[in-house]
């Protein structure tokens, strides 16, 4: 009953979204304010409705309604309540509904903004968002496999069929317990990671909708960019946060000793980021100089398409990996939707191409001006995208043509990505010092030598300390360079305030941030990025690993640490897991540093889950895995240990990063 209610609400929302798009078109054609207003209100109403639908599903999940196929597949009686509720996005059908729910939240939020000054955008923004929302709702409604409200029915011959309503000649089937959530997903990181990522995804729909509105209405000035600036930042914040959380989850849960495995599904989430990031930068230039209008359009269109594409990749089963839950029938629909979006967007863009000419002549722009460096950065991001995208696409093409699978692992990505990230760091160091339009070697050189000196000193120091790996040395030098450049920028501006306005230096710093949040928040993000790079260089270049089967009392050695196997215990938990837990003591140079408890949990359904024990310090991580796939006994157990130097800086950097974006996106009083 409740399930049918939920489904009914879903259908109603779908119709409402369609109505909203239709009313907006009518309003535009008839120049009728009332129709457009009706469309706006309809879009606003989608949020309460999807909330009702999602709420219904959450209730059904929490109350063990195993007669629903979706509930049965992601919930079991022994799961704690919060996991049951978050199982909303633990499977395919639910996560699509969750997607729609977040999308409608952004849709409603957009309708609430002050539209007075840009009324002409409204119908088109409504259409783009409503159509996107309707598409995702349609996946839930028209495909039984993707319908979270579909019930299990049994025919007389014993077959189990799906249906929202009772098919003739069947009787209701209510399993006594469900399968439960995949143990890999029962982790705090996995609970927050999908919502973050999805928020990032759906938020990028908003700037895209405004971009389309600008193209259709011909208001191709920077109005749409100014409106969506903050939306874009929010989208970028969530997308970046989602990516980092995914890394953290992989590190904490997968037991592979790493944070990123170049799994196609990871890449699928990275792709929109690779276009969203340069977009965030080049819009600044359009705002300030009226340049790169065409480029910005291209960037936001591709970002939007990649958002849909990323969802398609992970939801269609075209890749099967740890993330992709199921094979499904919705793949072709996504394909069509992506195709239509691409054709329509680029068609419009070509139609308006002439109107999007640069207001300032690009001819005066020198190759070392800030604009040019931004373009170069966009090119590097493009290169990053090509490598990643090709790494996903080529195996699919290959499989279609030859029927055989091939794998693109880290070996394929490592070199090009390292080079590109290095290049981006060089640009992060140069761009803040370059001047608009007229930048030259001379102007950059005049500014660059000050931060370059401490960077060189840092490089020499690192070298003298024994760092002989040229790759890491280059990386660390670039990190130092970016940090010094950015600090120099802070200092230069604060000192200027101090001198000209007589503010004391601390007040000057404070005012700097207050007066120009976007710029200095952005610089904090730069610093955060290179701090994250320290962690990445640390693990990528210096990771060591060893595996050994130890008897109680025996130790293994890794990178100066000695790890002794003290004891092993096995015990059940209240939620039905069977835990095997080892006690290890870590020492270095004879000094005991503490204990570690690597373990693995056997879930009731027989799925094992390895939980590594990690000892993190600023210098390095010790990552100990109880190797559950080899023979384990009370007296003898195999352990795999990773030594991950500097990895913690990846997480520290990500905290700073979030802080930086918050500074940038924090509402400013209109001046």
């Amino acid at each position: 009953m409740l399930a049918q209610f939920g489904f009914g609400v879903l259908v109603l929302t779908f119709l409402l979204a369609l109505y909203s798009a239709g009313a907006a078109i009518t309003g535009y054609v008839r120049k009728s304010f009332r129709w457009v207003e009706s469309a706006r209100l309809a879009m606003q109403l989608t949020f309460p409705l999807t909330t009702l639908a999602a709420g219904t599903l959450v209730y059904l999940l929490a109350t063990n309604h195993f007669e629903l196929q979706y509930v049965w597949s992601v919930v079991s009686r022994d799961m704690p309540l919060y996991l049951k509720m978050t199982a909303l996005w633990g499977g395919q059908a639910g996560s699509l509904l969750f997607w729609s729910w977040l999308m409608s939240a952004f849709a409603s939020a957009v309708t609430l903004r002050k539209w007075d000054r840009d009324r002409e955008f409204l119908p088109w923004v409504v259409i783009v968002i409503s159509v996107t929302l309707a598409f995702f709702l349609a996946m839930n409604i028209f495909f039984l496999d993707e319908n979270p409200f579909a019930r299990l029915w049994q025919t007389m011959s014993g077959d189990v069929v799906l249906g929202v309503f009772q098919p003739a000649g069947t009787f209701a089937l209510t399993p006594s317990d469900g399968q439960g959530l995949n143990p890999l997903l029962r982790h705090p990181g996995m609970i927050i990671h999908p919502p973050m990522l999805y928020l990032g995804f759906v938020a990028f729909v908003i700037p895209y909708a405004f971009a389309m509105a600008a193209l259709i209405t011909g208001r191709t000035d920077d109005r749409w960019i100014r409106i969506t600036r903050r939306w874009t930042l929010v989208a970028w914040l969530f997308l970046s946060g989602g990516l980092v959380l995914g890394m953290r989850w992989a590190y904490d849960v997968l037991g592979w000793g790493g944070y990123w495995g170049w799994d196609p599904v990871e890449i699928a989430a990275l792709l929109p980021w690779l276009f969203g990031t340069p977009f965030l930068h080049t819009v600044i230039i359009q705002e300030k100089r009226g340049m790169f209008k065409q480029l910005n359009m291209v960037l936001i269109i591709v970002t939007y398409v990649l958002v849909i594409f990323g969802t398609f990749l992970t939801r269609s089963g075209v890749l099967s990996s740890v993330h992709a839950f199921a094979q499904s029938a919705i793949g072709p629909m996504f394909f069509v939707f992506i195709g239509i979006s691409l054709i329509a967007s680029f068609g419009l863009l070509i139609h308006r191409w002439g109107d999007l000419r640069d207001e300032t002549s690009l001819g005066k722009m020198s190759m070392l001006s800030r604009e040019a460096l931004f373009l170069l950065a966009a090119l590097l991001f493009g290169g990053f995208f090509i490598v990643s995208f090709w790494g996903i696409l080529y195996p699919i093409i290959y499989e279609i043509l030859s029927g055989q699978k091939i794998t693109f692992g880290p070996a394929f990505y490592r070199l090009p990505v390292a080079v590109i990230l290095g290049g981006l760091m060089v640009l992060m160091g140069m761009a803040p010092l370059s001047s608009w339009t007229f930048g030259s070697l001379k102007t950059i050189g005049r500014a660059i030598w000050k931060p370059a000196i401490p960077s060189a000193i840092a490089a020499v120091t690192i070298f003298a300390l024994g760092m002989k790996n040229w790759l890491a040395l280059t990386g660390f030098t670039l990190v130092a360079f970016v940090i010094f450049v950015t600090l120099y920028e802070f200092w230069r501006a604060a000192w200027g305030r101090h001198k000209t306005q007589g503010e004391n230096i601390f007040a000057a710093f404070w005012n700097l941030f207050r007066r120009n949040r976007r710029r200095y928040g952005g610089y904090i993000v730069h610093i955060a990025m290179v701090i994250m790079a320290v962690g990445i260089i640390g693990i990528e270049v210096f990771q060591t690993t060893t595996q050994k089967s130890l008897a109680v009392g025996e130790s293994l050695e890794i990178s100066g640490y000695s790890i002794r196997f003290d004891s092993l215990a096995q015990f059940p938990t209240t939620d039905g897991r069977w835990v095997t837990r080892a006690v290890m003591s870590v020492s270095r140079d004879g000094k005991t540093l503490g204990e570690l408890y690597p373990r693995y949990d056997l879930y009731p359904d027989g799925q094992p889950m390895t939980i590594p024990a990690v000892r993190s310090t600023l210098a390095d991580d010790l990552y100990v895995v109880l190797v559950n796939w080899e023979d384990i006994s009370q007296s003898q157990a195999p352990f795999k240990v990773y030594h991950n130097p500097l990895l913690i800086w990846l997480w520290i950097g990500s905290y700073i990063f979030i802080g930086g974006i918050l500074v940038t996106a924090w509402p400013e009083k209109d001046s």
């Binding site: 997968l254 091939i406 794998t407 200027g496 007066r515 595996q547």
Partner: protein, 170 residues
């Protein structure tokens, strides 16, 4: 067929295959005093991908099949096989997908050629664009370019004031 049954069947086939392979190789096994260490096995396994689970490196794959594959690697190492030979054995038996990147031969050259070519294409495009912009700017409006700029165009009035002050100080 149910996925579980299919998996079980596939698994049995694999195991039989491995056993056959193991029998074959053990017949010709050379005596070695110390068995190869886990690290030696993992060093090769981490370069290979599990042939059944997608995108899972062989050194961390927890399935029973992979455990046996690692044992196979150990055995082959004990027989004195080189890393290349072992990898080749896996490729011959399970296809190129066990490698962490396809070998750069035949059609698979595309995998390595396309990204750099596209990137260089993009770079060239950008460079061309620069030159066209330069040319179009130089032709008509020479006077505009000659119009001396006051400061190295700063991005807001605040910074330009700051620049000016800094100059004064010098």
């Amino acid at each position: 067929m149910k996925p579980v049954a299919r998996k079980a069947l596939r698994f049995t086939v694999y195991v039989l295959f491995i056993l056959l392979a193991a029998l074959q190789t053990s017949a010709a096994r050379a005596q070695t005093p110390t068995p190869p260490s886990d690290d030696a096995v993992n060093a090769i396994a981490r370069e290979l991908f599990c042939p059944i689970c997608q995108n899972t490196p062989l050194d961390v794959c927890p399935t029973e099949a992979c455990r046996q594959w690692r044992e196979l690697i150990r055995q082959m190492l004990a027989e004195g096989k080189s890393e290349a030979e072992i990898k080749q054995f896996f490729v011959d038996n399970y296809g190129a997908r066990v490698l962490s990147a396809p070998p750069a031969e035949g059609i698979n050259w595309l995998a390595y050629i396309v990204p750099p070519v596209m990137f260089l294409g993009g770079a060239l495009l950008l460079f061309q664009a620069f030159r066209t912009w330069k040319r179009t700017a130089e032709e008509p409006a020479d006077g505009a370019a000659a119009g001396k700029r006051s400061a190295p165009a700063a991005d807001d009035e605040y910074v330009s004031r700051l620049e000016a002050e800094l100059k004064k100080r010098r």
